[in-house]
Amino acid sequence: MENLVEIVGLTKVYEGRKLAVDNMNITIPRGKIIGLLGPNGSGKTTLIKMMNGLLTPTAGKVLINGFEPGVESKKKIAYLPEKTYLQNSMKVSEVVDFFGDFYDDFAKDRAYSMLQALKIDSTSKMKTLSKGTKEKVQLILVMSRNADLYILDEPIAGVDPAARDYILKTIITNYNENATILLSTHLISDIENILDDVIFIRDGQIILCSTVEAIREQKGKSVDAFFREVFAC
């Protein structure tokens, strides 16, 4: 199978503002768990939005499975944004039905078993849940899809440590060689053990693409420590 994601010359300039993404070229293969790492304002979120079709590029293209962002690519992408994006007035069970309705690859039973494991009452309305619980629900919905590309923007930042372990284990057990998981996060030390590769981004450009093992072997330090070195203020 060819590369899952191909990004060629991708650029985004906001009106009058700076260059958010600067002529990026990346290919992302299948079957990997990849960390997208960079400081705030580095262009991670802009890149992610363009992959999801939430933002139109100024130049260049994004191809997912050979498709530009559109109906075909959206069928195969499971996206977890940083914000709460579900309707507050809906119940958890209604949201599960919603996902099942629109996505053919959604596994309802998996969603319900995860909700149970995290002790979330599916009859409660979204607006009654705490912020951390809302984030868990959103994550469960994304992980219950059998997508080709999972894009998780800060999946564990707002979640308590016990649930974090559960979430990381879920990501590992859901892994399959046909799919790729792209994780964008600040909490590098928490997740670096589950990553295959890391991509460092700064000022809209990719400054490093490497495997976690290579960094540890060659630099003799963890990705977290190496990151702090590279991005020292």
């Binding site: 590992i172 057990t173 053990n193 589950i194 295959d196 540890r216």
Partner: protein, 122 residues
């Protein structure tokens, strides 16, 4: 709970060591079937590809044998297991001696200390 892994060394090497330890200590007996790559990866909270790399390494050394039908088994070669056990023990001893020398003890003093400690433990 995730396995405790050192931050600055390659993960797959540490996984190899950990599994070796489990085999040598008898946690996995000769001929035992090991859990799948994914199960172990989830237990250790590591990337499945990294766990796979560790397994490949262990297969290469012969400690683990992959059979098409029955999966991954611990070798029944007791001599190999014993050898690894001894190698690991020697590593520990060498490291112990280094540490004691750093504290300033001579070889005889170390042996005396050991005998006293062993008696107290019993």
């Amino acid at each position: 709970m995730a396995w405790e892994l050192n931050q600055d060394r390659p993960i797959y090497l540490q996984l190899v060591e950990r599994i070796q330890l489990q085999i040598v200590s008898g946690y996995y007996k000769p001929g035992d079937k090991l859990p799948s790559v994914r199960e172990l990866a989830a237990m250790a909270s590591v990337n499945p590809n990294t766990m796979q790399k560790a397994f490949t390494e262990l297969e290469r050394s012969g400690l683990i044998i992959t059979q098409r039908t029955s999966g991954r088994l611990v070798t029944e070669d007791l001599k190999m297991i014993k050898k690894i056990q001894q190698d690991l023990a020697t590593e520990q001893i060498v490291a112990f001696f280094e540490k004691m020398k750093e504290l300033g003890y001579s070889k005889e003093e170390i042996v005396n200390l050991m005998q006293t400690a062993v008696r107290e433990v019993e």
